[in-house]
């Protein structure tokens, strides 16, 4: 167990509202990731972080922002949610200090935007 907690686990909100998802880790891993999972697409990377205040875009970053002010917390924000952002969101960390290592995932946040 890599000690990854995602909150909330479920959320329903309306189009145009801001949404923030939180990922918390307990083991001081350097790399943290946010993915979305949609049927037929597997997991797609939204943003990742390689240290406090160090973040970079992934494959599907439009409409999302992230922040990492502490090693243990990585926040994903949808500034103005759209129905296309309805998805299951997963946070992950890389073992050790490098991105090539196995990743460990939280149990996801199911987000519905009406």
């Amino acid at each position: 167990d890599a000690g990854i907690t995602q909150s909330p686990r479920h959320k329903v909100t309306e189009t145009g509202t801001p949404v923030t998802l939180r990922c918390h880790q307990t083991e001081n891993h350097r790399y943290m990731y946010w993915y979305r999972q949609d049927p037929g697409h597997g997991l797609r990377l939204i943003h990742y972080s390689y240290g406090v205040k160090d973040t970079d875009k992934g494959e599907v970053s439009d409409g999302y922002s992230v922040s990492r002010s502490k090693t243990e917390d990585f926040l994903l924000t949808l500034e103005s949610a759209t129905s296309s952002q309805t998805s299951v969101y997963f946070c992950a960390i890389s073992e050790g200090q490098g991105p090539s290592q196995p990743q460990h995932f939280g149990d996801g946040t199911r987000l519905s935007i009406l």
Partner: protein, 109 residues
Amino acid sequence: SQQGEEDPQALSIQEGENATMNCSYKTSINNLQWYRQNSGRGLVHLILIRSNEREKHSGRLRVTLDTSKKSSSLLITASRAADTASYFCATFLNNDMRFGAGTRLTVKP
């Protein structure tokens, strides 16, 4: 875009049989990883194989990698009902990890 593509998309077998899933990818890689996902849960790492390795074993799992064909296979031997899950391959190259869409495995008791 996905890098790895798993085949088949779905597989149904009886308990005790072997299950083989395949992954094809398009570019060169540093390593390839296999993950399992149970319904409603996050992905769980199973095994990592580096680009200079051809085969790895872990318990009932056997992974092969053929870089000339840009393909990998995951074999689960003597399957159990608890192996029912989705299985994903992920390729890693230069800070970029890409996941396939997965194979849904159902093991019937």
